[in-house]
């Protein structure tokens, strides 16, 4: 390496996309793997700026925690983490995983550690059950991963098995109802426990979900058929909603306000899905005009029903970007 390039890096900025979950297709595990996740990286970005220093410092509690975890694991000096841009928290858009991977990637760069995103994720203890966030960070776009091996739970990151760019005219209309948020934040505190004690899905349901992904959802995106793609996503996501309904007071979606918003979405989009535990839901429409109409309808609805945020965005067809400063 030339002398010029040996310049020490002191500051690194990482920008990474949020993600939206569609669901998991194998909650049975009898084939030796569990979960298997479908989802998207969307163009709502998180940005961290990480500067070398002798201890760990951050005004953001979660950022401090992740930075400390990484610094301890590799016995590094420390760093200051500034969260410059953020994505909605605790609403199913992958805030914590994206934050952890961004910080870990920045620290690895600063301290010259040669690590894969998978290794960083394992160090951060994120992305080992579903790795949608890991692959959204790495490659973006539409993602299908193949689950983890039941004998390697939390020791491996599920591998990417299908990946495709989302057409730029397909816009995600995202609605985050405020009403259910408090309850979901509370529930998420017990998420690990819930996931550990989850009831098993009947084989036939996992089979059927796998078929929707392989025979309907994946071919439709390859052929740019938004109608069929949305139908597949909605069918898949609502089947899962039924499976999880005991954690949602018997509902397919997390809250009556969300249920109603899903109905509004379905009038304009064949896709209407709840991401993770919600309350975030999303539809996909073709083009700006459609997106603006649906965004307005959902805004009006939420304004009268406890409030919330509605916006539209395209997919993020690339993963994170790293800048040395």
């Amino acid at each position: 390496m030339s002398v010029n390039r040996m310049q020490k890096i002191n500051k690194v900025s990482v920008t990474a996309p949020a993600h939206l979950h569609t669901g998991n297709f194998d909650m049975t595990g009898d084939l030796g793997r569990l979960y298997g996740t479908v989802g998207f990286a969307v163009d709502r970005l998180l940005e961290v700026e990480v500067t070398k220093r002798v201890d760990v410092k951050s005004e953001d509690e979660a950022a401090y925690l992740f930075a400390s975890r990484f610094v301890d694991a590799f016995d590094l000096a420390g760093a200051e983490v500034k969260v410059k841009k953020t994505i909605p928290k605790f609403v199913g858009m992958g805030y914590h995983t994206t934050l952890a991977l961004s910080i870990g990637t920045a620290l690895a760069k600063l301290y010259n550690l040669n690590l894969t995103t998978e290794q960083i994720a394992l160090t951060m203890q994120r992305g080992a059950i579903t790795s949608l966030g890991v692959h959204a960070f790495k490659v973006g776009g539409f993602i299908v991963e193949g689950g983890f091996r039941v004998d390697q739970r939390e020791k491996m990151i599920p591998p990417l098995i299908f990946h495709e760019s989302v057409p730029s005219n397909w816009l995600f209309v995202i609605a985050i109802a405020k009403e259910p948020q408090e309850k979901i934040v509370k529930m998420r505190e017990n998420e690990d426990k819930i996931l550990r004690n989850l009831k098993l899905m009947p084989k036939e349901t996992s089979d059927m979900l796998s078929r929707i992904v392989l025979v309907k959802i994946i071919p439709s995106i390859v052929e740019n058929d938004l109608k069929s793609f949305g139908e597949g996503l909605t069918a898949f996501n609502s089947e899962l909603g039924k499976f999880w309904n005991e954690y949602q007071c018997g509902r397919t979606y997390c809250h009556p306000v969300v249920e109603e918003a899903i109905k509004i979405m379905l009038k304009r989009s064949t896709c209407a899905c709840q991401t993770s535990w919600g309350p975030t839901i999303y539809g996909i429409v073709d083009g700006k005009t459609e997106a603006e109409v649906l965004t307005k309808e959902l805004k009006d609805y939420l304004a009268k029903n406890g409030g919330g945020e509605v916006f539209y965005t395209k997919a993020a067809n690339a993963g994170a970007s790293i800048k040395e400063m």
């Binding site: 297709f25 194998d26 084939l31 030796g32 793997r33 298997g36 299908v144 193949g146 689950g147 599920p158 591998p159 990417l160 098995i161 299908f162 036939e204 996992s206 089979d207 059927m208 979900l209 796998s210 078929r211 929707i212 992904v213 392989l214 025979v215 309907k216 994946i218 071919p219 390859v222 052929e223 069929s228």
Partner: protein, 318 residues
């Protein structure tokens, strides 16, 4: 100018959806292997001249291609090697694409391999052969859109490099040849639709076992998934082929390979070709055992093949 082409052969690992009620039908899984091959050389000539193996068929294919693109020029093709026909190794598609691609290079016709496959009439059921020619490796195609059964391009939905350290022991029992062309089309037409539950099982085995095991190079899981998919697909073809596999020697050979160290085993397409998936260090031993086993029954050829992870080799010598 001379164009040299060497194609892989194709092993078919299974069909995905023989029901179609979700809007797509067929969909196949295949692997490109490095032996046997179509090898040919083409150059411009004063008269259309085809020499070497399968010259009559090759001439038909060449004439068809020249006509399809309105080319008045003549060419000479020398076919040095071919893949045996109608035994489940995908010979037809590889030869047709080799001919089409070689002529296209001579006359600078710019079109995709998908287009050539459609022009040459090679997309009756599957996009696997085209993908194998184009990029090699393990491929999964999406099947046909049931709204457009005349669909010209069957999209690829998965392409993975196949682990270098794995081998196929390929056995071709000396029995009747598999179905092809019209007979194949008829058999597909008469086939009762597979129950959605069975299709769904194949889909989950593919998504949750077969594909991850290729990424993770886990031959045991790959073999198990392959064998299970083969059994489900085979049973649904029982009516057309008189049993789970195309013949009793084929079925026995599959069983024998499984009992003698293969991690998974199956039949390629309509057979009679069968194969076992093994680790490279064990390939020779299992090949010899399988050969001895076949010699005691109907006889036939057994060889070891490696995956081809790059597709056809195309060389243009100016």
């Amino acid at each position: 100018m001379k164009v040299y082409i060497k194609t892989p052969a194709r092993l078919h690992l299974g069909l995905i959806d023989l029901n179609g009620d979700l809007g797509r039908i067929f969909g196949g899984i295949g692997v490109a292997i490095n032996h046997p091959n179509v090898i040919l050389e083409a150059e411009k000539a004063k008269e259309l001249a085809v020499s070497g193996e399968k010259s009559e068929l090759t001439q038909k294919l060449a004439t068809h291609f020249l006509e399809a693109y309105g080319l008045k020029e003549k060419i000479a093709i020398d076919v040095k090697e071919t893949i045996p026909e109608h035994i489940g190794l995908g010979s037809g598609t590889q030869l047709a694409l080799a001919v089409a691609t070689s002529i296209s290079r001579l006359f600078e016709i710019k079109a995709s391999t998908h287009e050539f496959a459609a022009v040459m009439g090679r997309v009756a059921q599957s996009g696997v052969g085209t993908a194998v020619f184009e990029q090699g490796g393990l491929v999964v195609d999406a099947g046909k859109n049931t709204k457009d059964l005349a669909q010209k391009i069957i999209p690829l939905i998965c392409h993975l490099p196949f682990p270098d350290e794995w081998r196929f022991v390929v056995a071709i029992p000396k029995t009747k040849k598999g179905l092809s062309n019209e007979a194949e089309a008829l058999a597909f037409k008469d086939l009762p639709p597979m129950a959605p539950e069975e299709v769904s099982k194949i889909c989950r085995l593919t998504m949750m076992k077969l594909l991850p095991s290729v990424v993770e190079k886990d031959i045991k899981s790959f073999g198990e998934a392959l064998t299970q998919i083969q059994c489900i697909v085979g049973d649904s073809f029982a009516q057309a082929q008189g049993g789970r596999f195309s013949s009793s020697p084929a079925a026995k050979c599959i069983e024998f390979m499984l009992q003698n160290g293969a991690y998974g085993s199956g039949q390629s397409s309509w057979g009679p070709t069968v194969y076992g998936i093994v680790k490279s260090g064990e390939a020779k031993k299992i090949k010899m055992k399988t050969q001895a086993f076949l010699n005691k029954s109907v006889g036939g050829e057994v060889f070891v093949a490696k995956a081809n992870n790059r597709g056809a080799i195309i060389k243009v010598n100016k």
